[in-house]
Symmetry: none
Subunit: 210 residues, 2 copies
DNA sequence: GGCGCGAGTTCACTATAGGAAACAGGTTTT
DNA sequence: AAAACCTGTTTCCTATAGTGAACTCGCGCC
């Protein structure tokens, strides 16, 4: 079948590249996805436009699909490429961590303008940072400068009303239950506009591999 | 064929899965990389083991490379697949996007057990998926199988009370205001235990580049 | 100018991927 | 229990990806 010829290997090694042509059990993975969704080959055929036979061969590693075929797969199955390729390692993680925070039992971090309550701070390695904030600030002038940090932020108003100032937009009035998603590298700041100090829930993404 | 479990479906929809048949200028991208490194076709041929002619045709979109060919490319050039596919390089950062969702104006995705309301679904490329859920389920048996998906999930109870079933732990009672963070690859399922259906806010991480 | 040389492209051929249909178990129908 | 059906595999055949050789163009050189 697909035999990597010796010369290729030699060249690759000589050029100081990793000698591995990672096995990349694509067929295996495809079958996994298919069965997980309880699809038959025919179902997948309908979705992707590839012949039943072709799919069978791909699953059994009898052929190496064309890139266009791979595209049909990912668009037809509604998955993305990393998802199609990554499963083996994802499986290795089998993590089952969890971190409970009872109401009012987060870690408090008061500042002049905000009163933060960090949630789920037991967990060390996580990709999101959730926290509840009581917005003490009442006027934009109370902020010495824009709040900004890498990544993205999601925010929902739990109680009261706020005014969201952002660097590139007009101030936005948010009522209880409203939510917003924004790039947090853009300067931002919150002030309460309700009688009581507003409470908001925020979730920020964590630093990434650029 | 059974539809995928609820949250997966929600995630897929949220991930901007349009019928778009991404043109995916792979050839263009390859040439870009090659020239950036000042490699000739011959150089790349040596590194990858693919014929000069083949590389030429790939760069000019005259053929659609086999998946094995793509593997030779990525291993030979020492790049990874996402890198090869994400030509418009996310380098265009410092963005200032935002996406407001007024209370009750999210995108509804009802299922037998959950009633999802996707928030901030205007934004296409984002790293978190926030949604509000009314938990209709009352008994664990209403779920045909565990809900699970890659990544991590943060969840806060906004109204009512729920019981959180997870694959590796005892069921956990959560009251209004309680929150939890967990690996969502671990099977999980929610049921309401209050008189009224409970409402929870969830934020999931998105698939990442391996 | 002719000549050599190294870049990319094109040609002609072989290897292989993709598709239609036939085949081989199973399961359900009658 | 045969018939009708599904599902996945296998068999051809055609379309196309991959290859080495031939070709083309540009550039420097004496």
């Amino acid at each position: 079948m697909t035999e990597t010829n010796d010369q290729d290997a030699a060249l690759r090694i000589a050029s100081g590249r990793k000698p591995f042509v990672e096995p990349l059990r694509l067929g295996e993975r495809l079958r996994e996805i298919r069965l997980a969704n309880q699809w038959t080959l025919e179902d997948v055929s309908q979705r992707t436009g590839l012949a039943r036979s072709t799919l069978s061969k791909i699953e059994n590693d009898q052929i190496s699909p064309t890139f266009t075929a791979v595209q049909k797969l990912i668009s037809g199955l509604g998955i993305d490429l990393p998802q199609l390729l990554s499963p083996p390692r994802q499986q290795a993680r089998t993590t089952g961590r969890r971190d409970l925070t009872r109401r009012g039992h987060g870690e408090l971090h008061p500042t002049p303008t905000y009163e933060h309550e960090l949630l789920s701070c037991e967990l060390a390695q996580k990709r999101m940072i959730p926290f509840k904030t009581i917005v003490r600030a009442r006027r934009f002038e109370e902020f010495s400068e824009w709040v900004r940090h890498d990544g993205e932020e999601f925010l929902m108003v739990l109680e009261g009303e706020i005014l969201l100032y952002t660097e590139f937009y007009e101030p936005l009035q948010l009522e209880t239950g409203d939510s917003i998603y924004f790039d947090s590298a853009m300067g931002h700041a919150l002030v309460s506009t309700s009688d009581e100090d507003a409470v908001v829930l925020s979730v920020c993404t964590r630093g990434e591999a650029a």
